[in-house]
């Protein structure tokens, strides 16, 4: 099945071939649209024509034959018209007489036996509204934030305070400020969003779909559908990419499909095509971040003051936690006694922003790491030397008062990345806006340094108690093996493979006897959503412990039944007692399955009691553990066309124990490539009509195979020892830091500081030809 090096009898640390790979390379994996459902109706969503207004009427054309079609509006919602995400403000459908808060807000769902008929029917529904003035963009909101703060409409505020910034600024030799902007980003999973809802005879629903968090709809649609959690069952289908885009949004889709399904008794499927998926699903939050930093001549920070404002769109959904993660990363990476960070979630009349890999951290790191180079330039210091001097390391205290343990490899990341990239020499050779004779391209190198909090914020994991089970079962070949039962979803990141490796080691059986069925809330305990770089660290530990529990049960059974009460050990597929003949796993497991029922190992995740967190004041241990990273980018800027080519990226990460090196470097290369798009290609705004201004793959440009640089990826391992096998977060951190590294490289190449992404050729042209010089 897979390669394992001769040297080790452990699967953890080996590049085992992914367990879901074979079906994928052969085109046999059935994603939602590949499953031949019979008798399923197709649903189409009807939307508001204005970004802000009062919904006057939803009118069905009397000339159309509605007999083969079912139409659900807000009046058909069985319960209260509310979707329960992080607050209880967002309706499932806009209701007549109610306020429309964003363009494209759903008002009705049409379902019919064929998609063509449903689309035709949807065209015979007229939505009328009284339009009101709309605030569509973050720059408009920031204008108010700066000029009339009392009028600024925020959905959530939060402060982090450490020391006294006034005192800090008084001690400073220089005060350096900077403002940094970033735009929307589309997740652009290749498989569009889709779900199917099957109404059941007892009034409950069963939903299947491409989603990351099977338990979210179970707990978010109860009020609207008037169904308790046990009457909403959700099963994942293979997920063709998600990146956060299938975190909170599938709840809405299931809610939409459930309405005509419950009304008609027919199963209803809604799948978006690409245009609709780009226009009407959540994006990465645009950000405005302002730093004011007090520095001594020797480079030390005396104070960091930061404002971090994200565009939440029309409803809060999950934006509070995106902002929390953002502000927790705004001043995480550097030593400073006096810090204040203010976070806000601006309300605009745009589509609610949502989860996207990094979840606020890339926006924070974009600001901080751009600003650090500005500070270095002002002080006449080298960016690498300043980072080596100031970076957070074991023993340091974070802005929330957390003492960094020895399990933080921040220094090792910096040292290795600088060495591997030959940074100092290449920085010296950077063009600084001057072409040498014979050169056509400006060359530059730039870096970024950052941490990423792994798992839920603060004591979130302690409160949540992720649950998992490893159960003994007969596999499809009739022989015994185990099933991993957790709600964590395979979406390409490799969780089915890495958790299989972890269980193989903990159980001491081969991975070929381990299965990881698709998450189904009817069958799996809640190990939590597949988010927050938490799965390998937290759920990996849960299955490690659960497998250990099951192994102990098997050993006790074997001792009693096969070894006359002598304690035995399950080791590499055999039960052994010194001096007796070993008995294979299959024999004992078969006997136990015959004699006992429901044999499984279980575990609930714990945090060490010393983890203390105050959610009100944001003081304490913000995350159970931190991953660290350094990105170093080398760029060429065409002096004539202003095109940027990123030629090489050296990336070093401390993600704790590396479970599967090939899979891990694949996560890094993929995340860096998304970050490359975010930085120089992927441009998306809210147009005057309230719709996104890039709506398809011809206008929303993501990196192709021609755009990717050479990647030099390395890991340093500082394991999280509390949760064996010691992984920390990996999924998001590759997205965090490349944007500022590229911007810093462009500054080294052109001599111009660019403080907004994406950095398109137009932006560079303007910077190069502006009358006043930017800050290099």
């Amino acid at each position: 099945m897979s390669k394992r090096s001769k040297k080790s009898d452990r699967w953890v640390g080996q590049s085992m071939i992914r367990v879901d790979g074979d079906g994928k390379v052969r085109g046999r994996t059935q994603y939602l649209n590949d499953i031949p459902y019979k008798g399923v109706w197709q649903g189409v969503v009807v939307r508001t024509p204005v970004a802000h207004g009062i919904l006057k009427a939803v009118t069905l054309d009397p000339a159309f034959d509605w007999s083969q079609v079912v139409v659900a509006t807000a009046e058909d919602i069985p319960g209260e018209n509310i979707v329960h995400m992080h607050d209880r403000t967002m309706p499932l459908l806009a209701a007549v007489g109610g306020e429309i808060k964003y363009r494209g807000e759903p008002v009705a769902v049409v379902a019919a036996p064929t998609l063509a008929l449903a689309q035709e029917a949807a065209r015979h529904i007229t939505v009328t509204a009284d339009e009101l003035p709309a605030l569509l963009t973050l720059p408009e909101a920031i204008k108010i934030y700066k000029s009339a703060p009392k009028k600024f409409d925020t959905m959530q505020s939060k402060r982090i305070v450490k020391g006294d910034v006034a005192k800090g600024f008084a001690l400073a030799d220089e005060i350096i400020t900077g403002e940094y902007w970033a735009g929307h980003q589309e997740q652009l999973y290749l498989e569009n969003q889709g779900v199917v809802v099957f109404p059941q005879q007892d009034g409950s629903i069963w939903a299947e779909g491409s989603l990351q968090c099977p338990y979210f709809p179970v707990h978010e649609l109860n009020d609207a559908l008037r169904l308790p959690p046990e009457k909403i069952r959700v099963r994942q289908t293979p997920v063709g990419g998600a990146f956060g885009g299938k975190e909170e949004y599938p709840t809405m889709l299931i809610g939409y499909a459930a309405l005509p399904a419950l009304k008609s008794g027919k199963p209803v499927k809604i799948t978006y095509e690409r245009n609709e998926d780009i226009l009407f699903t959540p994006k990465r939050h645009p950000v405005w971040v302002r730093y004011k930093t007090g520095v001594k001549k020797d480079g030390t920070f005396t104070a960091i003051e930061c404002d971090f404002v994200i565009d939440g769109g029309a409803y809060l959904t999950i934006s509070d936690v995106v902002m929390f993660r953002g502000i927790l990363h705004c001043a995480l990476a550097y030593r400073c006694e006096n810090v204040i960070v203010r976070g806000e979630v601006a309300r605009t009349h745009s589509f609610p922003s949502g989860a996207f890999r990094g979840f606020g951290a890339p926006q924070a790191v974009w600001g901080m790491e751009s600003h650090l180079d500005v500070v270095a330039a002002r002080l006449g210091k080298k960016p690498d030397e300043l980072r080596l001097q100031l970076h957070a390391r074991p023993g340091d205290i974070t802005p929330t008062g957390q003492v960094l343990s020895s399990e933080n490899g921040s220094t090792a990341c910096l040292q290795l990345a600088l060495k591997r990239s030959d940074f100092a020499r290449k920085l010296k050779e950077s063009s600084r806006g001057r072409l040498k004779r014979g050169q056509q391209k400006l060359r530059g190198i730039g870096m970024s340094f950052f941490g990423h909090g792994a798992a839920f914020t603060g004591d979130g994991e302690a409160n949540f108690k992720a649950k998992g089970r490893v159960e003994l079962a007969l596999l499809e070949d009739g022989q015994p093996g185990v099933n991993i039962r957790v709600s964590s979803v395979e979406m390409g990141q490799g969780v089915h493979t890495v958790l299989t490796q972890i269980v193989a080691d903990a159980m001491q059986i081969g991975p070929e006897r381990i299965r990881y069925p698709m998450a189904d809330t009817g069958l799996v305990p809640n190990s939590g959503p597949t988010v927050a770089s938490r799965t390998t660290m937290v759920v990996g530990n849960v299955v490690h412990r659960a497998a250990g529990d099951l192994k102990a049960q098997l050993e006790a059974f074997a001792a009693e039944k096969f070894f006359k009460g002598k304690a035995c050990e399950l080791r590499t597929g055999k039960f052994v007692v010194k001096g007796t003949r070993a008995i294979p796993f299959a024999k004992v497991a078969q006997a136990m399955l015959t004699e006992c029922q429901n044999i499984s190992g279980k575990f609930e995740f714990l945090l060490p009691p010393e983890i203390q967190w105050d959610q009100g004041t944001f003081v304490g241990d913000a995350y159970p553990g931190y991953s660290w990273g350094v990105n170093i980018a080398e760029v060429e800027v065409d002096a004539l066309t202003c095109e940027v080519a990123v030629k090489r990226v050296a990336a070093v990460f401390d993600i704790g124990t590396v479970i599967n090196p090939v899979s891990a470097s694949g996560q890094v290369e993929g995340g860096l490539t998304q970050a490359l798009g975010y930085t120089i290609m992927e441009k998306l705004g809210t147009g005057k009509d309230g719709l996104y201004d890039a709506t398809r793959l011809q206008t929303y440009i993501i990196p192709t195979i021609l755009d990717v640089p050479e990647f030099d990826v390395s890991f340093v391992e500082y394991p999280y020892s509390f949760a064996p096998p010691g992984a920390k977060g990996l999924g998001e951190i590759p997205m965090d830091g490349l944007a500022p590294a590229i911007a810093n490289a462009i500054a080294a190449a052109t001599g111009r500081r660019i403080n907004q992404i994406p950095i398109t050729p137009e932006v560079i042209y303007q910077a190069l030809h502006a009358d006043s010089k930017g800050t290099p």
């Binding site: 085109g27 498989e191 690409r274």
Partner: protein
């Protein structure tokens, strides 16, 4: 418009079909023949998830009106690739190199790699990049896909 009739060779098998001439090749493959290995993602020929070989040339089947394809056209999809030795070599290389994540782009990617290697069994990295430039992947950052095609090239049957 009335239906047209065509006889094509699909994955080595003669197949007789009737369809409206404007019907997309992808819909015929997926909906009429149940060959769901070819995926639809963008629907406008930008992403390559629906790539199939038509007379050994890679095409995006989501924007190809099938009436354009004459009798005798040879069509190879991901379902037919694994019956070819080179196809299996490519699939194995993708697995070994970790070139697969979510998998949604992979059938199109494997078909495009096959189209390259049957013509150019020892491609340069530049040639690999150019051959796969029409296939978007959002997961892998392409690096391991390039490695996989390079590895497959080292295992190509020798021509004599």
């Amino acid at each position: 418009m009335s239906n047209v009739q065509r006889t094509w060779t699909i994955n080595g098998k003669q197949t007789k079909l009737r369809f409206p001439p404007g019907r997309r090749l992808l819909d015929i493959l997926r909906d009429d023949l149940g060959l769901t290995g070819s995926k639809e993602s963008c629907g406008e020929g930008e992403c390559g998830a629906c790539t199939v070989l038509v007379n050994k040339e890679p095409v995006v089947s989501c924007i190809l009106p099938a009436g354009q394809l004459v009798n005798g056209t040879d069509i190879l999809t991901i379902e037919g690739i694994e019956k070819k030795r080179i196809g299996r070599v490519i699939q194995q290389a993708f697995l070994e190199c970790g070139a697969v994540q979510c998998g949604f782009c992979i059938p199109g990617m494997v078909v495009a790699a096959y189209a390259l290697l049957i013509k150019n069994p020892k491609p340069s990295v530049r040639a690999i990049r150019e051959a796969l430039a029409g296939n978007l992947c959002r997961c892998t950052g392409y690096t391991k896909i390039i490695q996989a095609v390079k590895l497959a090239a080292t295992r190509m049957p020798q021509r004599k």
